[in-house]
C-alpha cells in the first residue's frame, strides 16, 4: 500500500470516529469512537514510519496504544460508577450540571 492509501485510511477512520462522537448517545459507543480517533493517528504514524524508514513513528504508536488502554480503563470505571448511581449509560441522562 502506498503512503496515499495510509493517509486516506486514517482520514476515513478519524471521520468515522468524529461522526460517531457527534451522533451516538450511548457512552460505550462514545468509547468506541474515541478508540477509533486515537487509532487513526496510529495508522498514519505506521505509514509514515514505513516511508521514512525511522522508528520515531512506530515508537509513538506504542505510546498511543498504552495511553488508549489507560484511558479506556479509567473511562469505563467512571461509567460503571455512574451506572451504579443513575442506572443508565445514556448521555442524555447525565445532565445535572448545566448553565
Amino acid at each position: 500500500m502506498s503512503i496515499t492509501g495510509y493517509v486516506i485510511l486514517s482520514a476515513l477512520l478519524f471521520s468515522v470516529g468524529l461522526f460517531g462522537l457527534i451522533v451516538r448517545r450511548n457512552v460505550i459507543s462514545l468509547f468506541f469512537s474515541l478508540e477509533l480517533l486515537l487509532n487513526s493517528a496510529n495508522v498514519l504514524f505506521v505509514g509514515f514510519s514505513k516511508l521514512y524508514g525511522n522508528y520515531y513513528g512506530e515508537l509513538f504508536v506504542f505510546f498511543v496504544l498504552a495511553v488508549a488502554a489507560a484511558e479506556a480503563a479509567v473511562g469505563l470505571a467512571i461509567v460503571v460508577a455512574l451506572y451504579r448511581l443513575k442506572g443508565s449509560v445514556n448521555t442524555e441522562d447525565y445532565s445535572s450540571l448545566r448553565w
Binding site: V7, S10, F14, G17, L21, V27, L30, L34, L37, L38, S40, A41, L44, F45, G47, F48, L51, Y52, N54, Y56, G57, L59, F60, F63, V64, A66, V67, A70, E71, V74, G75, A77, I78, V79, A81, L82, L85, K86, Y94, S96, L97, R98, W99
Partner: protein
C-alpha cells in the same frame, strides 16, 4: 547526545515517591490515613521543590538524547506546579476531613502523578514525550474528579471532562502524526528545521490540529464546553489543582513547542491566537456575569484569563514569553486562593458554593471576608495586587507591538469581569445573613492566607516576578536560537 540522567533527578524522585506511596497505602490503617498521607505528600513535595530548584540550569540542558530540555523557564514553571501541589495538599486535608472517600491514599498519590505529568509536559522536547506526559496529567485528573463517595456531580463532571479531553488528546495525536509525516522526526528542533523550508497545506492542517488540541486543554473559546461543568462538578481542591496546573503546563508546553516551530511564519499564527484569545476573553467575562454558583463563575473567569494569555502569545516572541510567564505566575496564585476560599466555606451538601451562601460573611468571619476582597480584586486586576501587574504587562506588550484594538478589547473584558467579581463581595459585606460562626479548617486557611499574602506582597514588589520572567525569557531564548 547522552542520557544525562542526573538532570532528571526531581522527576525520578517524584515518580519513585508516588510508587512507594502506593505500597505504603496498603499498610496504613484507614483511620489515620488522611493526616499521615497529607503529611507524607507535603514532605515529598517540599523535597521535590528543593530538588527542582537545584536542578534547573540557567543555560539550557538536554537529557534522554534531546527528548527533554530544561531551562530556567521550565524550572520556574515546575516550581509553580509543585507549589500548587503543596497548597492543594493543605486544602485537600481539610476537605477530606469533611467529605469522606474510601480512597484517601489514592487521592494523594494520584495528585503526585498528575503533578509529575505536568512537570514532564513542561520540559518535553519531543512530540511523543509531550503526548504521554499530557495524558499522564489528564488521566490522573479524571480519576481525582470521580473519587468521592456518593458524589454524583463529580462523576458526571469526570465523564464529561474525560470524553472531551480525550477528543482533544486524539486531535493532538493526529496533528503530531501529520507533523511527523511532513518532517520525518518528532524532535522539536528537527521538526522546526524541516518545517521552515517547506510550508504545505498538510503542514498547515497539522499545526491547526495541534493548536486546537491545546485550545481544548486550556479551555479557550471554540473548545471551552467542558470547562464550566468540569470545574463546577469536581471536588473543590481538584478544581483548584486543575485550574492552576493544567493551565501552567499547557501554556508553557505551547510556548516551548510553538516558538521554535513557528518562528519562521509567526505573523499568521500570532493572528490566529490573538483572535481566539480575544473571543475567549470576552465570552468568558460575559458568560460569568449570570452565574449563581461561584465555582461555575470562576470556571468562566478562567476561560477569560486563558483568552488574555492567548492574546499575550500573539505579541512579539520575546514579549510573549515574558508576559505569558508573568500572567501564569499571578493566575496560579489567584486560582489557588479563590478555589481555596470556596473550599474553606463549603460544608455538607455543597453549601457555601452559591452566591447566596455568602450572605453576611463579614459578620460571621471578618478575616475571611477581608481575604476574599484581596482575592477577588486580584482576579479583577485592581492595583496594587499582583493580578493588576499581570494584566498591565499583557497590555503593554500588546500596545508595544502595535495591537491597540486588541489591548482595548482586553481592557473591556476585564472591566466586565469586575462586575461579577464584585458580586460575592456585595453579598459578603452588604447583605444580612443568619448569624452562625464559620469555623475554617486550619490547613486550608493557611493555604489561602499564604497565596493571598503572595498576591499582596508581590503586588507591591512586582520587580521580583518581573526579574524572574526576564531571566526565564533569556534562558529560553538561549535554548531556541
Amino acid at each position: 547526545m547522552e542520557l544525562n540522567l542526573s538532570l532528571f533527578t526531581p522527576e525520578l524522585f517524584l515518580a519513585c515517591a508516588g510508587i512507594l506511596l502506593i505500597l505504603i497505602d496498603l499498610i496504613i490503617p484507614s483511620r489515620e490515613k488522611n493526616g499521615l498521607f497529607a503529611l507524607i505528600t507535603f514532605g515529598i513535595t517540599s523535597v521535590a521543590i528543593v530538588l527542582t530548584a537545584v536542578y534547573s540550569p540557567f543555560s539550557p540542558q538536554e537529557a534522554f538524547n534531546g527528548f527533554i530540555k530544561k531551562d530556567f523557564l521550565s524550572g520556574l514553571s515546575q516550581l509553580l506546579v509543585l507549589f500548587t501541589l503543596l497548597l492543594t495538599v493543605l486544602v485537600s486535608y481539610d476537605y477530606l476531613e469533611r467529605f469522606k472517600t474510601n480512597y484517601v491514599g489514592e487521592y494523594y498519590y494520584t495528585l503526585i502523578f498528575a503533578s509529575l505529568g505536568a512537570m514532564l509536559m513542561i520540559e518535553a522536547n519531543e512530540l511523543a514525550t509531550l503526548f504521554v506526559s499530557l495524558e499522564v496529567m489528564s488521566i490522573s485528573i479524571y480519576v481525582l474528579m470521580a473519587l468521592f463517595k456518593r458524589d454524583y456531580r463529580g462523576k458526571e463532571a469526570a465523564l464529561k471532562y474525560f470524553i472531551l479531553g480525550s477528543v482533544g488528546a486524539a486531535t493532538l495525536a493526529y496533528g503530531f502524526a501529520l507533523l511527523y509525516g511532513i518532517t520525518g522526526s518528532t524532535l522539536y528542533p528537527e521538526v522546526a528545521k524541516a518545517l521552515s523550508s517547506n510550508l504545505s497545506a498538510a503542514a498547515f492542517l497539522g499545526i491547526a490540529l495541534v493548536l486546537s488540541g491545546f485550545l481544548f486543554k486550556v479551555g479557550a473559546v471554540p473548545f471551552h464546553g467542558w470547562a464550566p461543568d468540569a470545574y463546577h462538578g469536581a471536588p473543590t481542591p481538584v478544581s483548584l489543582f486543575m485550574g492552576a496546573v493544567v493551565k501552567v503546563a499547557a501554556f508553557v508546553a505551547l510556548l516551548k513547542l510553538f516558538f521554535p516551530v513557528l518562528l519562521p511564519f509567526f505573523e499568521r499564527w500570532g493572528e490566529v491566537a490573538l483572535i481566539f484569545g480575544l473571543v475567549s476573553a470576552l465570552f468568558g467575562a460575559l458568560a460569568a456575569l449570570g452565574q449563581e454558583n461561584l465555582k461555575r463563575m470562576l470556571a468562566y473567569s478562567s476561560i477569560s484569563h486563558a483568552g488574555v494569555i492567548l492574546s499575550a502569545l500573539a505579541t512579539l516572541p520575546a514579549l510573549a514569553v515574558y508576559s505569558v510567564f508573568f500572567y501564569l505566575f499571578a493566575y496560579t496564585f489567584m486560582t489557588i486562593a479563590a478555589f481555596g476560599i470556596i473550599s474553606l466555606l463549603t460544608v455538607k451538601g455543597f453549601k457555601g458554593e452559591n452566591l447566596s451562601d455568602w450572605r453576611g460573611l463579614y459578620s460571621k468571619s471578618p478575616s475571611l471576608a477581608l481575604l476574599s476582597v484581596v482575592i477577588f480584586m486580584a482576579l479583577a486586576g485592581i492595583p496594587p495586587l499582583l493580578g493588576f501587574w499581570a494584566k498591565f504587562y499583557v497590555l503593554v506588550a500588546l500596545v508595544k507591538t502595535g495591537k491597540v484594538l486588541p489591548a482595548l478589547i482586553v481592557m473591556v473584558a476585564s472591566l466586565i469581569s469586575l462586575g461579577f467579581y464584585l458580586k460575592p463581595l456585595v453579598y459578603a459585606f452588604m447583605k444580612e445573613g443568619k448569624e452562625e460562626r464559620v469555623i475554617p479548617g486550619f490547613s486550608a486557611y493557611a493555604a489561602v492566607l499564604i497565596s493571598s499574602l503572595v498576591l499582596i506582597f508581590l503586588g507591591l514588589f512586582p520587580e521580583v516576578v518581573s526579574q524572574a520572567s526576564l531571566l526565564s525569557l533569556a534562558s529560553f531564548l538561549k535554548g531556541v536560537m
